[in-house]
Every structure is written in structure tokens, then in C-alpha cells.
């Protein structure tokens, strides 16, 4: 509610007269609050709660786990705006039971459903030189079908470049349909930097930790089995 000092906070309304103060923004999630309110009240107490798409889904899960008695809770669904959906990378910014507001389209955060399989990400990459390419291997990638599969196509490509990607952004620039490929690439670069202090392309003498340093510099507390040593030498 919007209170007398113009502050917005959750509120349990008990009389229709109070409802003038009802506001639905900014985003608050009420599922868990509803659970605690109902728990503190006697069994005959009934509560209605205004829910966004995500909040409605939270209610469903809490009911499933016997945390909320569905008989005692009425949900009133309302839709999020486009901006909120974008901020949350939400694919369903509206409840199943929509009673207020207009549903806006969900965000497809990785947009992989758009892939036209141009191979531009691979072709434009300054490091991709393997012959044969895993993306041309029937075991992994189905031929003749678009969009290319997220796991079999984009993740294989990303992992294959995990220790060589120099963060040039050429893959993302070449993508005609705007798939944010650097999201994958940068997170893997960050992992190598964190665990091995390794950044591809900076040190001409140091070999890739994925191939070599895994033996020399195990992470703290990590047990490395002997068979990992591809050079044949024990660490």
C-alpha cells in the first residue's frame, strides 16, 4: 500500500474502504508472506493476495509442498510490464489466471530459438580452426534443422572455446539474429581467470590450464586422479 507518508510497503487490507491505497508497483513477492500470515491466523481465516506470474508460480510450489492451504488463499493475477519482464529476463511475465493488466511477451534470455544456423559464430571466430568441426558431427548436431539446439550446438561451441576465447566478440557481432553469445563465453573466461588466473592470449608461454595446469595447479581441496595426466607424468 501507499501509506500516508508516501511510502510503499506490503499490507493486509481488511476493509474495502482501505483499497484506495492499493498499489501494485514496485515488484514485491507475496507468496511466502501469505504463508506466514495464514500460519499465524486461525484455520477459518481467509486471505486474498495479488500475484504476478512468478508469484503465482511460487504459490503453486508452496501449495505442492504443503506450505500453503490453497483453500484459504485466493490469488488475484496481474501482469508485469515489458520493462519489468526485461529486468527479470522473465519468459512468462503474467499469471495463468490473469485478472488485471495486459500480458506482455516474455523475454527469451538466450534467444536461441532464433538461431538460423548460419555458422557465423564459428566462421567469424579467430580461434575456431578444428577439422573436422564438432558442429559438423552427426553425433552432436542434427543436420538440416533450425533453430540449432542450445545444448548440442551453442554449448558445444562455447565449451570448445572455453580456454581459447580471446573475448573479441566477433561471434556475437556476426550473429544475424542477436543471440548474446558473449554471455556464455565471458562466464567461462571468468571461471578460468578465477580458478587458474588464466586469460587466453595474454601469456605466450603458458599452456591452457584445461589441458595442462589442471595437474599443476589443482583447486584447493580438489583431488586429482592420476588418469587425468595426459602427459604421462605424475604431478
Amino acid at each position: 500500500m501507499l501509506d500516508q507518508v508516501k511510502q510503499i510497503h506490503p499490507h493486509v487490507f481488511t476493509s474495502p474502504a482501505e483499497l484506495d491505497a492499493l498499489v501494485l508497483e514496485p515488484k514485491w513477492l507475496f507468496a511466502k508472506m501469505a504463508r506466514s500470515v495464514l500460519r499465524a491466523k486461525p484455520a477459518e481465516f481467509r486471505l486474498a493476495v495479488a500475484v504476478r506470474g512468478c508469484d503465482e508460480r511460487a504459490v503453486v510450489e508452496l501449495v505442492k509442498r504443503s506450505q500453503i492451504d490453497r483453500e484459504r488463499l485466493l490469488t488475484i493475477g496481474y501482469a508485469c510490464g515489458a520493462e519489468q519482464a526485461k529486468a527479470c529476463l522473465c519468459s512468462r511475465p503474467y499469471p495463468e489466471k490473469l485478472e488485471a493488466g495486459e500480458a506482455v511477451a516474455g523475454v527469451d534470455p538466450f534467444a536461441d530459438g532464433r538461431c538460423i544456423k548460419c555458422y557465423g559464430c564459428r566462421n567469424s571466430c579467430p580461434i575456431c580452426v578444428c577439422v573436422p568441426c564438432k558442429l559438423e558431427d552427426d553425433v552432436w548436431v542434427e543436420r538440416g534443422v533450425i533453430p540449432a539446439e542450445m545444448v548440442s550446438f551453442h554449448l558445444i561451441r562455447a565449451f570448445h572455446l572455453s580456454d581459447t576465447c580471446v573475448a573479441c566478440g566477433a561471434c556475437q557481432e556476426a550473429c544475424p539474429v542477436g543471440i548474446p553469445l558473449m554471455t556464455l563465453q565471458l562466464s567461462m573466461r571468468a571461471a578460468l581467470k578465477k580458478d587458474y588466473n588464466y586469460e587466453a592470449g595474454l601469456d605466450a608461454d603458458r599452456r591452457s590450464p584445461v589441458l595442462f595446469d589442471f595437474i599443476k595447479e589443482p583447486r584447493p581441496g580438489q583431488n586429482v586422479p592420476d588418469w587425468v595426466d595426459s602427459t604421462g607424468k605424475k604431478p
Binding site: I116, C118, Y119, N123, E136, R143, I146, E173, P176, G178
Partner: protein, 682 residues
């Protein structure tokens, strides 16, 4: 030798992406996206990335070939040109001017198309010249001329990114115009709403807010229902209609025949959805309609296009940025081939051959006597082959795969007294020729293509044609001179000056100005920056005209004997008749075998599993192909790509034509299917 990098334009679809060809030792060795091309801005689809692969294919034609019995023998260019000119002239003098015809090419440059139509018209005094636009967007040209006054896409590709609502009707741009989809997705990322109207769940539909899987061929009822709801709800653009259009009363009367309940039962789309799409389109600040072959390749293709124009005008969604009507052109230069007058009723710049003043202008410019009688269309030229048409000159077209009912096409071509085919490979059509002339591909020529947004773009020659093969421009110049025409053009650039002088809309265009980013026509003078969108203050025809779109249901519906609908189209890795893409190793690896998509229920009823060989038969022919089980098609419908010579979908299609534009109804016919045990055993 160091490699050279040559900027040119992709030879596949009408998007017109920029390619940088890497040339090493005289060979096109790689294709890169041109980062400075204003259309594609550093992206390509898979076909563009591998556009160099067919260029040096060992099956390229390297010398003129003359038929001797069942075989071809190599002859010299002198013999070939002399023979071609003699045979064509003899035919015309024996059987009259209209016994000669020509098919020009949407794969060739503007300059080549201009020369080709001029050659046919000026040398033989006939207008028997047409090209494959007849098979795709002729309905657009005819329909949009009546309503708006211009058959071209109204806006630019980049305008799509600014639209708030986009309707896709019968366009699978994700496979057919892939790079253009990037602009659509930019709009969606801004919160635009996209609706897809298509019987198939295409890759475009996957990203749509809603897919309207209408019954095949019921576009007019659906569009009429939307318009009815818009008018009934008062959402039409009253001011725009009042000031910019005429004949709205006739449309209102027509819409009385389409109440929503009737629309719903005819189309199979529920009333609430029709209302939602109609309201979203009408209320959007800027709304775009993208359409393609799903609209035009019907027996009522012209009326389908008219209905789209009516809807856009009704809501005032045309004549401004970010809105408009987007008929996506198929071939790289199908816009240009139409612009250059490779059409039987129009000179370059859509100037009518039947108009005496215009004919006089061209007679004077070409110093030739010209026919006032519109010529025959593609389908009519083929049908009349061996009858009224005795000699045919086909430049870079392959009707034996691309035309409907290809069995009939092959019979017709064999009846000709003389058939000349000019192409880069010995195509299915060239095999029937008496004389085969080896032409050049995109990498081997200088000239211009005009893309789907009316943009002239420059091709730069990167490599030489193989062997004795020659640029089509040079061949046409030789042919013209042999036929007594003054075809002494030093270069395509010089030729462009000739047509720029004959068509006011191209007057300001010259090779020099095209170097950086091309130019979008109309461009009436040398200072004009080109035109991003049409119909801004007035429509090309003055007032926009509401025309009644008469509904014709599909001509051939499934029955007991042929119980399935057949729909045809393209797939992302191949292009049209496959002449180039199926000779590109990378593309052909992606899709090697012909297939049809079959719904899982139909497949299990027939006992067909994924990859099984099946026989598909229509009243016209029969093919053996493989099954791809997919719920992308609805039960009772199958989809067949038409690229495959070994299983030509156009063996099956129905050659019934739209009466106004003569475009065949490729999108709907009836077929039956059975498992092919013989092929399965192989």
C-alpha cells in the same frame, strides 16, 4: 600472390547481403560478411557464408554446346552466336514475331535483364519476355499497382526494427530471408508484438506471440474478418481514409459478408484470436505486414495481396516509417528484373507497352519498331511451346524444377524447334536445349542487383568465368550485334546511363554513386539520396484505392483418393532449384536428401517412420522421397521443399493460375502417400 578481397552482393535471396570474397590465385576461396553493407551489416546466413563453394565446381559449363542427337558437342562462340541469331531470325520470319520468346533471369544483373528484354523486343518486335517473378511476386505487382500504385516493398528492411506490431503472413523469413529476421528480433526486443499467420509452425512462428494456423488458402476470410472487426470497433484510421484513399464504401459493403463467426468457421481461427490480432495491428503506433509466397502462390494471389493493402490502408499503417507492407522478394535480383522490364506488358520502370506515348519513347530511344501487344507470361510461353512459340531463349532459369507440373514443362520444351539455354551449369532445363551457352556467376561479373527494399547495389568482378564461359552481359552484346542491334556497350556502367535516362525513378542512379551503400529508388536526380519509404504524402497512384478482394477457395482440395494437402517451399540450406546450393559441399551436407514433413498421426496411420522412403502422388505426377515426422505441419497436410531434382515437388503441384497475374497455386494441391518398399529396400 597475395589474396585480394572483393566486395560484392550475395547471389541467393532478395535481402541483398554484402559479401567480401577472398580471391586467391584466381579462385574465390572464402566468403566473409561485408561489415559496411547497409543491409546485412556484417552478418550472413549459411548460404552467404558458403557462396564461393559452387563457383569453381567441376561441372561448370566452359564452352558453348550444340546438341547432336542425344549428346552435346563443343562449338566455338562464333558458331554459337551465329547459329542462335540465325535460328531465332528464321523462326521469326517463318512463323511471325510472336513465335519467339525469352525467359530473362532474376539471378542476373539489372544491366543483363535490361539488355535481354531489349534484345527480345527490339530484335523480334514481340513482347514475349518474362521471368520467374511470374512464379512468385507477380500477384504483388498486379495487386499493389491497383491499390497503391507501386508493386514494390513500401518500406526499408531496417524499418522493421522500429515496428510495434508485425504480422507475418505466409512468410518463413527465418529460412528464406534469414538475415532480415535480425531486424524483426530487434523489434521484439523492444517489446513489439509479432503474430504469424501460417498453416505451418515455421521457425518464425516459434518466436511469435501467437501462431494462427489457418486452413490452407483462407487468407482473405481471415483478413476480411480482421477488417470487419476493426471497422465495427471504430479502430480504422478515419482521417487517413478520408484524406488519402478512395472507395472505402465498397470495402465496407464487402465486409458485411464476413461476420466473425463465418470467418472463424472458414479459417479455423477462433474469434477471440482474430479480434486480438486485429486490435493489436490497428492500435499499434507503427505496424508492419510481412508476406511472401504463402500469399501470392494461390489462385487468388492478387486478391490476397489486395486484402493486405486494404488492411494496411484501413489502419493508416502505410506511408510512414516503421510500418508498411513488406512483400519479401525471393531472388537476389527479382526486384531488378521486374524493374528492368523483363515483363511481357511493361517496359523498364513499369511503363506499359500498350501506352502509345510510352511505346513511342522507347521506339525512339532504341531506334526500333516495337509491338504494342502484351506478350506471353512464363507459364503461357511454356504452354505454347511447340505451338505458337517455336523458339525460346532461356537465360539462367530452370523451369524444369521451378514451374508447376514439371512433367508438362519437359514435354513442352521438347516440342520447340529451337531452345537456347544460357546458364552456368547443365541444368535440368539445359538438357533439353539445342544450344547451350556458358554464362557467368555472381563472382564473375560487374553490375547491379536491386534487393527487396529497392536498393541498387554493386557487384564487383572477383574472378574470371571458367574456360570459354563468358559474362551474360558480353554474351547478350554479341547476340544483339548478330541480330543487327547497336549493342556496343563498353561496360554495364555505360548501359546504366541508358536506362537511367528512360526511367525517371532511376534518373539519379549511376555506378559511381553506388559504391558505398547503394541507392534505393525512386532516385530522380543526381543529388537525391534515395527513398526509404514510399507513399509518404501521396500514394504512387494518387489516392490509395480500396479494392474488393474476391475470395476463391483452393482449386484442388483433398478428397477420398488424394486425402492430403501438399504445401511447398524452401529450406534454410538450399536455394530454389538447387543448381548452386546442391553443388556447394557445405550446404549439401546440411540437407542431402529430399524429404517431406508429415504429421506424426498421419505417419503412424501409414506405418511410416523417420527417414523412411515414401511415394507421394498427385493427379500430375509422383515422387519418391523421405519422411520427416514433425508436428510443424498439421494433421492432413504435408510440406515438401522444392529444391531436389531427384524428387521434384513440382512434379506434384497444380498448374492452375491466378487469372490476373498468372501465378500458379504452388501452395495448395491434393496428394496421396504410401510407403515405398522398393526404395526402402535399397
Amino acid at each position: 600472390m597475395n589474396p585480394e578481397f572483393i566486395r560484392t552482393i550475395c547471389p541467393y535471396c532478395g535481402t541483398g547481403c554484402g559479401i567480401v570474397l577472398k580471391v586467391q590465385d584466381g579462385r574465390a576461396a572464402a566468403s566473409y560478411p561485408d561489415r559496411e553493407n547497409p543491409v546485412s551489416r556484417g552478418s550472413l546466413c549459411v548460404k552467404g557464408w558458403f557462396s564461393h563453394e559452387f563457383v569453381h565446381h567441376p561441372e561448370r559449363l566452359t564452352a558453348p554446346l550444340l546438341r547432336k542427337g542425344d549428346a552435346f558437342v563443343e562449338i566455338s562462340w562464333e558458331e554459337a552466336i551465329d547459329l542462335a541469331a540465325r535460328k531465332l531470325r528464321e523462326t521469326a520470319s517463318t512463323y511471325g514475331p510472336d513465335s519467339v520468346g525469352g525467359l530473362s533471369s532474376a539471378k542476373c544483373t539489372n544491366e543483363e535483364n535490361y539488355l535481354f528484354q531489349k534484345l527480345i523486343r527490339a530484335a523480334f518486335r514481340t513482347n514475349n519476355v518474362d521471368h520467374c517473378a511470374r512464379l512468385c511476386h507477380a500477384a504483388t505487382t498486379v495487386g499493389m499497382l491497383q491499390t497503391l500504385g507501386s508493386g514494390a516493398m513500401t518500406n526499408s528492411i531496417s524499418d522493421l526494427a522500429g515496428a510495434d506490431c508485425i504480422l507475418f503472413i505466409g512468410s518463413n523469413a527465418a529460412e528464406s530471408h534469414p538475415v532480415l529476421m535480425g531486424e524483426v528480433y530487434k523489434a521484439l526486443d523492444r517489446g513489439a508484438k509479432m503474430f504469424v499467420i501460417d498453416p505451418r509452425e515455421t521457425p518464425v512462428a516459434r518466436n511469435a506471440r501467437k501462431l494462427l494456423r489457418l486452413n490452407p488458402g483462407t487468407d482473405i476470410p481471415l483478413l476480411a474478418g480482421m477488417m470487419r472487426h476493426i471497422v465495427d470497433s471504430g479502430l480504422h484510421a478515419k482521417d487517413f481514409i478520408e484524406k488519402r484513399t478512395e472507395n472505402v464504401e465498397a470495402l465496407r459493403t464487402f465486409l458485411q459478408a464476413w461476420p466473425l463467426d463465418k470467418v472463424a468457421s472458414e479459417t479455423g481461427i477462433d474469434e477471440a484470436t482474430i479480434r486480438e490480432v486485429a486490435e493489436t495491428y490497428a492500435k499499434a503506433e507503427n505496424a508492419a505486414i510481412v508476406y511472401c509466397m504463402g500469399i501470392t502462390q494461390h489462385a487468388c494471389g492478387v486478391a490476397n495481396v489486395i486484402a493486405i493493402c486494404d488492411l494496411a490502408m484501413l489502419c493508416g499503417q502505410v506511408g510512414k516509417p516503421f510500418s508498411g507492407i513488406y512483400p519479401l522478394r525471393g531472388q537476389n535480383n527479382v526486384q531488378g528484373a521486374c524493374d528492368m522490364g523483363a515483363l511481357p506488358n511493361l517496359y523498364p520502370g513499369y511503363q506499359a507497352v500498350a501506352d502509345a506515348a510510352i511505346r513511342e519513347k522507347f521506339q525512339k530511344a532504341w531506334k526500333a519498331d516495337l509491338s504494342d501487344k502484351p506478350g506471353k507470361t512464363v507459364t503461357e510461353l511454356i504452354n505454347a511451346s511447340g505451338k505458337d512459340i517455336r523458339a525460346l531463349y532461356i537465360m539462367a532459369e530452370n523451369p524444369c524444377i521451378s514451374d508447376p507440373d514439371v512433367n508438362h514443362v519437359m514435354e513442352a520444351l521438347q516440342r520447340l524447334d529451337f531452345l537456347i539455354v544460357q546458364d552456368i551449369f547443365l541444368t535440368e532445363t539445359a538438357k533439353f536445349a539445342h544450344l547451350v551457352l556458358p554464362g557467368a556467376c555472381f563472382a564473375e561479373k560487374t553490375g547491379t542487383y536491386t534487393n527487396t527494399e529497392r536498393r541498387f547495389q554493386l557487384l564487383h568482378k572477383a574472378v574470371d568465368p571458367p574456360g570459354k564461359a563468358m559474362g551474360d552481359f558480353e554474351i547478350l552484346c554479341l547476340m544483339g550485334k548478330a541480330l543487327g542491334l547497336p549493342f556496343d556497350y563498353a561496360s554495364p556502367a555505360e548501359l546504366m546511363a541508358e536506362y537511367a535516362g528512360l526511367v525517371p525513378a532511376y534518373a539519379g542512379i549511376s555506378f559511381d554513386r553506388l559504391e558505398r551503400a547503394g541507392l534505393q529508388w525512386p532516385c530522380p536526380d543526381e543529388k537525391h539520396p534515395g527513398t526509404r519509404f514510399l507513399h509518404g504524402t501521396t500514394f504512387t497512384r494518387g489516392l490509395g484505392r480500396f479494392v474488393i478482394p474476391d475470395y476463391t477457395p483452393p482449386m484442388e482440395k483433398p478428397d477420398a483418393e488424394y486425402p492430403y494437402y501438399l504445401n511447398t517451399g524452401r529450406v534454410f540450406a538450399h536455394y530454389h532449384t538447387g543448381t548452386m546450393t546442391r553443388r556447394s559441399a557445405f550446404l549439401n551436407r546440411e540437407i542431402e536428401d529430399p524429404y517431406v514433413e508429415i504429421h506424426p498421426d498421419d505417419a503412424s496411420a501409414l506405418g511410416v517412420g523417420p527417414g523412411d522412403w515414401i511415394r507421394v502422388t498427385s493427379r500430375r505426377g509422383s515422387i519418391v522421397t523421405t519422411a520427416r515426422i514433425s508436428d510443424r505441419v498439421v494433421k492432413g497436410s504435408i510440406f515438401a521443399p522444392f529444391h531436389f531434382t531427384e524428387a521434384r515437388a513440382n512434379m506434384l503441384t497444380n498448374p492452375v493460375l491466378d487469372p490476373a497475374c498468372k501465378t500458379p497455386e504452388y501452395k495448395v494441391c491434393a496428394v496421396k502417400m504410401e510407403k515405398d518398399h522398393e526404395a526402402q529396400a535399397r
